[in-house]
Every structure is written in C-alpha cells, then in structure tokens.
Symmetry: C3
Subunit: 343 residues, 3 copies
C-alpha cells in the first residue's frame, strides 16, 4: 500500500510551494463531442468551427468549462484527496482558448494557509494555472479547501490569508486574440438578445431541466481524470450514494443557460462559486441566472456580462437563501462569472 498516493494533509503544505500536478492530457475532437453528449451545450462558438472562425478564432475551442475541468482534475490528487470541503473559488481567468490537439497540465502555488481553531484541520489556498504544450497559460484560478491534518501534533503554520478580489473587474478579463463580434450572426446563434438587452438585476429562468444519471456524471468526471473516490465508489459514503462532482453541476447549469443566454458565448472570468448543497443521481437540475453587471471590452463588438448562475434541484427561480442566511435546500450551485457577449 506504500506505493499508492495517500494524498496530502494540512501539515504537508508550505506557503509559496509550487506543485507540478501529474498526468498531462491531450484534448481533441473526442473530448469536444463528449462534452456535447454529456451536457445540453449549444453555444454556437463551441459547436461550429465555421461560426468560431467568423468570430475571429482559428476554430471552435474546447468548451471553457471542459478546459477548467481538465485543469482542475489534475489538482485533485495533490490538493483535495483529503479535503473535507471545497470552500470557494476566486480570480478565475480564462487566458487563451484550448483547441483540439492541445496538451494541458496544471501547476498550483500555495498562497494561503490557516489552521482551524480545533487543530484538526486547516484551510489551504492555491492558485492553479493550466498550461498548454507551449507552456502558455490557458487558465488561472484560486481555490481554497479545508484539509484534514494527519498529525494533529504538527505545528500550525503562520496564518496567511490571501487578499482576493470579491469579483474581477472587466479590465481583468483576457479577451481571446482576434475575437470580433461585429459580424455576429444572431440567427445562427439562436437568440436575438445582445448585451445591451439585459438589465442589471434581471433574472432569467432557463426553463429546461435534466434528471441526473450515475453513468453520466461518472463518465464526465472520469473524462477530466478527476479520481476522487466519492464520485465513483458507492461503498465509500455511509449512505451508499455517490456525491456528484460539483463541476458536473456547473457544466449542466451553464449548458441549460443557453435558453435565455445563448449569446453569452465565452466564459472569461470566475468571480466566485459555492456548491450550496450536494447533488446526487435522480435529482432534476434546472437553472436560473441573474445579471450582476455589464461592461465593455477593447475587442470589436465584444461586451462582457457578469452573471450569477444558480442550479437548483427543486425548480425554484430567484430564491437563493432562506431567512437564516443559508442557501435554500433546493439550491445546488451559486456561481458568479463573466461571459463575453456581443454588445
């Protein structure tokens, strides 16, 4: 058993440490097809090479969330194998589209550490960067997790809590080189609404729903080489349920949001996110969005829209938290992101 990876415990992390995550991955047409098979994804830029080329890209990239899942999946054996909870995300920036044939790997730097007062666990902040085969960054984000201590006698590290932006400014977003929405074909994209048609505070019910199957979330999660036991092994939890990878819910909700946000084409920034309640097979995921902000970008015809994306298991719309300030039980996900959209 000494040969298997026991994962890291809280006392194993050092501030400033850089972890090269294992198992680089070449993504291709197969991953693109599978993304469309697993999620009701219809954003035209990711569906058609021709549409993407007409928007100034070299072809249809891998879905931004697929890129995120691949980069994230590599970090699991080093960051979250002994994690008690995934606490949050911040400062997520998509820096460069990922195209079929690209090979991705991930690197994380430990940027924060704080032992919990019970002495049994602590919070670890990492900034993870996904790199392609040219060593160009494609994605960067901060994530923090609560991790158990293995040796509770290990001394507490100096507490360092990183200073993270509550939300990215539009100026922080990296617009892909060449992106140009001035000739954008709204008919082919599926909806007529441009950035200017949305009002801050507007809530959009995405209407459609998908009932979740075990086979589907496992196929998706394996595709990203995320091997956390709890997603695959029904004997792992006392209740015999497989906890669904939070990223599966993110992708499902984002794909459902096509209906009402078909032109929110590219994800450019992740401001924050909470997996409000666990998701299990049998639940029916629906989604709604709230417009949080709008902005311009330097790229021709390209605007930015900041959205709250909420996944639910009860079909509720517009209600996030109860009187106690906690997420309602029917809320699965509360995600805050920036998308690029025709102005």
């Amino acid at each position: 058993m000494a040969k298997t990876n026991p994962g890291r415990f809280f006392e194993d992390y050092r501030l400033g440490e850089v972890i090269d995550h294992a198992v680089p991955r070449t993504v291709g047409e197969g991953e693109r097809a599978l993304y469309h098979a697993l999620y009701p994804a219809r954003h035209a830029l990711y569906s058609s090479d021709v549409f993407a080329a007409e928007c100034g890209l070299e072809g249809s990239p891998l879905d931004d969330l697929a890129a995120f899942h691949v980069v994230f999946g590599k970090t699991v054996p080093d960051i979250s194998l002994n994690a008690v909870a995934n606490l949050g995300y911040a400062e997520g920036r998509w820096l460069r589209p990922v195209y079929p044939g690209d090979t991705l790997r991930s690197v994380s730097e430990v940027i924060g550490l704080k032992q919990n007062s019970n002495g049994k666990s602590g919070v670890v902040w990492v900034r993870t960067t996904g790199l392609n085969q040219m060593d160009e960054p494609v994605l960067s984000y901060v994530r923090w997790v609560m991790v158990r201590k293995n040796d509770t006698d290990a001394p507490a590290p100096e507490t360092v809590v990183p200073d993270l932006k509550p939300a990215l400014d539009a100026a922080d977003l990296a617009v892909p080189e060449g992106l140009d929405f001035t000739g954008y074909d709204f008919a082919l994209a599926g909806e007529a609404h441009r950035c200017g048609d949305y009002a801050v505070g507007e809530v959009i019910d995405h209407v459609d729903g998908v009932t979740i199957e075990e086979a589907e979330h496992m196929i998706a999660t394996r595709l990203w080489q995320n091997t956390a036991k709890v997603h695959f092994d029904a004997t792992f939890r006392p209740d015999g349920q497989r906890l669904i990878y939070g990223g599966h819910v993110i992708s499902m909700a984002r794909a459902l949001s096509f209906n009402g946000l078909a032109n929110a084409q590219m994800i450019a920034g992740l401001n924050g996110g909470a997996h409000a309640n666990p998701c299990f097979a049998g639940l029916t995921v629906k989604a709604w969005s709230e417009v949080l902000d709008k902005a311009e970008t330097p790229a021709p015809g390209v605007g930015a829209i900041r959205l709250r994306l909420v996944a639910t298991s009860d079909g509720s719309v517009g209600e996030l938290k109860g009187a106690d300030g906690k997420y309602r039980p029917g809320v699965l996900l509360d995600l805050d992101y920036w998308a690029l959209m025709p102005v």
Copy 2:
C-alpha cells in the same frame, strides 16, 4: 423569462416561410466514435476508412442517421417545441455523405398548413434541408407535426396539404459520387448476401436485442442537440418517465439490422415512418425487416433495396398491426427506407 424561447405555435407559421435554424454544428471523429458506442453499428462502410475508400468514397462518412439526427435536432426549437405529435416523414433523401470536419446547419420551408377542426391545434408540414459548410445540401426530408395554437382565436390559415410521394422511386435516390461496389469485400463486410439474394416480401428477424438505459438515450439525444424537455426531465410528464427520442429507436433498430442486412450499407431514402408506440428506458428493443422492393442504380455494382424496419419491445416478428388496424402495443417503430447494397 421573456428571454427564453417559447417555441412557435400553430398560428405562427406562414406558408412558404423559410426558417433558418440555429446552432450550426461541426461533426468529427468524436461523433463517429460516440455513434458506435451508443448503437451496435457495424456496417463496414461507416466503420473503416479503408473499406469506404475501397468503395470509392474519400473515407468513412458519419452514419447517415447521425447526419439525420443532427439536422433534425436543429429544427426542434422552431418546429416541435409545442408539438403534440410527430405525425410523419416523407421524401427523405440523403444527398451527400457527411465527413468528419463538416459543419451542418438546417433550414426548413413551411410547405403545408391545416388547422384541426377543434380549432385548438393544426398540422404543419415542413421540408427541412441540411447543409454543409459549402452550402451543399446533405439531406432533405418532409416532416409533419401537430402543433398547439396559443391563441385559439387566431384565424385559420388557408388549408394547404402538400402532395407527397408515398414512396420515393429508386430514380429519386442520390447515389454518392464515386460509389462503386464492384470490388466489394463481402467477407470483411460480414455477410455474403447481395441485393439479389433478398426476395420482396422476405422477412428478416435481426435476433439481437438491447435493453435501453436512461443515460444512453440522453447522451445520444444531447449529442444531436435535440433539447426537447420530455427526453431529459423526469419531472416533465405526470408519470415521471422520460420519453425516448424516436430517432434513438430508429438508430438502435437500424444498427441491430446489421445481423441479416450487413450489406444494406448506405441509407439513401426515407419513404415514411411512424413512431407507433412510445419507448421508455427498461424496454428491450429488437428489430425485424421486410423487403418491400428492389431496384438498380446507375452506380457500378450498386443496387437499392427498399426495407420496412420495425422496432419492437416484445420481440415479435412480422406482426405489425392488430385486427383493429392499429399498431400492436409491442411495435415501437415502422420505418420505410431505401438502402444501397451490392447487386
């Protein structure tokens, strides 16, 4: 909620109107692999680039039904979101093989309208054409659906019922350029039977069966970007069942028909089809075929065979309708098509 697509109602269609359907789609090696993963497809022309090249094609095309599903899927948001029933197909012609890398989009023309006598719904006939990135038609078919009226006070349109062929003539079929079966390798194709070995009226029991899973039909249906709620959302129907996309049953039955019709390689024409009874997960789909006609084509060594393909949930063979003239409950599909086969 105003931002989401409410679908069209009967009164929203105009005779002669042309609808450009949204979300073009680039299909590739991934879609080809998934087709083989989802259906027991073994026709050699679609399995091997080498076999296809030896038959005069540039490589192995995407399965003809996959092309159909992609083209069909794009029409759902505009044609059948508020459809009460899918009533029929006619004059389906495969005009050009679809190869990995092609980008497909769909256009429909309204060719018939007839309000029902109850004033609450009507029948809409559309001729849908799938086009590739060169704007070349790859597929064309007529479909008619019953659609609800939203405003029952809306005036009835002039009744126009298109004059449709009960079946295509062999002369109507488009044989792919270069197709040549004179050097056809029957051993590699899997069976020795050529077109001349089948007799009109002959019934073939395809023997094999597949028990349907929710995950599989949803993966397939999403892959074609068909987003009709009823296929995915178990809370949508009062009985809590997800209605399986009729095209899933078509593809399953066609793939099963390899066993006995291994050389009916390419689908060239769709004469008609009825989804006789709904299909749900848990049913075991089997299939049988009846030879309806045979013909020659101008291409070297290439014959045409007209087949009735029947999918069942009860394993019955050769029995289609009861004494009342209605489909037997164990019949799921009754499809009438032309295939190209070595003479």
Copy 3:
C-alpha cells in the same frame, strides 16, 4: 432468419483453418476520449501526446487494452457466439502501438480442438492476430473457449491441444520501436516508483473503486463492436441480468492500478487470465496487483514488470483462492501480464 449469423458450433471448426473476421474498424481521437471517459485511465503515455513523444513514440497511442478489445470484438461472431465459456488466454503479445487513424481487422487460426467426453461440446483454441491498414500485426494472442455442438452426432475431430507457454519470457516481448525511458518525467507521470522499486511478491492495493453501471459497460462493449447478446439484452438470461463483458473488468482494473503502478506504462504481454466470477452492474470493482517477475529489455531505460492484476467485488486484497483451490466469490478477474516500466 436464414440471413442472420447463427454462429459456429464445435463441429464447424477445422484445425489449421484461418478465419478472416468481419468489419474492419478505424479508431481515432473519439475512441481515445471514450476510453478515458469509461475508465479512470491516467497512464501519462496514453494521456498526453507530448509525454508519449518525449518517450520516443510518434504520439499517444490508443490504450493497449482498447486495441485488444477492438481486435477481440471482431472475433466474437465467429468464435464465441455459441461459446459456453471463455476458458483462457495465453501468449498475448502487443506488437506495435495503435495510433488514431489506424484501421484494425482480425484474423484467427484454429490451433487446437478437443471434444469433451460428454460429446455435446468441445474446446477450440485460436490464435488471433490484429492487423492494421498496412497489414502489420499489432497484437496476437491465443484464446480458448468451450463451444456447443449443434449436431451431437458429428464425429469428434482428432484431439490437438496446443503447447502454450505458461508465461512469456521477457525476451518474447516486443518493445515499440524508439521507446526510450531515459528522460522519463516521473513527476508528470504521477509516481516516483521505478521498476527497481518493486519487489517480486509485493502486493499493491490500488485503493480506488468504481461502482459499475449498465450504461457504461454497454457503451464500452459496443464501442469494441462486441455484440454478444448476453451483454446487452436483459431478457436473454433467466435472471434478467446483463453479464458484463470480461474485458470491461480488465480495463477497469488496469485503470485503477494507476494508483500504485502509474509507471507500468505499456502492456506488452498477456500471459494468462481467468474471469473468475461474473460481473454485474451494481458491483463495486476494486483492484490489487502482485509483482510476479521483473526483467530488462534492450530499449534504453525500459524495464519489464510481470504483474498479477486482480479485480474484486468485495474489496479483498491479496486473497485469490479458497481452501478448495477455487477462486473466492469476491474475485472477478485474475490476469497475468507484462508491462513496460522505467528501470
């Protein structure tokens, strides 16, 4: 029904006969992606084109077991359609990596026949070779199955039992041309253990587990065009269960073995294997390995490790057979293979 394949019976095989199996198959990026979606495969050589190139290959090959399944799947209609039992494997040699774009076909030679004393069935030994589009062998193995007689009056053939090696010597293994592990990146591969770090007799618990779903094993088995009814048709067995293709368990166990054997990159030889107990959906597959032997190869930095790979349904580790000499009920698979690993 005369048109469908009834399969071969014991009396239909002749010693020395060569069977060209039908339906060649082009494998590509889609098959590679699906392999990663269906199994928790993480061996870096099969995940990253860059990693594979740095090991001297032209790119990341299709997983060795995927190549095996494709070659094996083609033999099912001719070898095992009427098989009562799959009795064993021997002398399996991977001769050449399979790359996206290759087209595979299979040929089998009957090398042994032995009628059972009951006169109702017999054992058939075949040596199957997988060939690519250049007619180069990519894989070769011996398999023997018990097959029913259709005509119990058919005379027994002369008994010929082939002389098979209980295990390949390391010298029998074909190391892919150009393979070079001298610059092997252990950090990217995921573990630091090289061949020299393993001791003969060492047992490795691979820790992770996957609970099996019907949709997943059917998707996998269809992908290899293995159409044995028993895997797909829940009405086929009296107990209503679908028997899972033994190769699905092999691939699952091999993928799980990454955790502890991340550097046992390429499968080069199959010495033997037993599907000890049937596998059904709902079981949770775990795996352990035992190091049986180690050897050198002529390739730079490339060693060979002989492993027993055991899949279980009860999480047991290190226990293979009971006091009665039979496999314990929780053992699904006992596979003996050679892998190539950095020395």
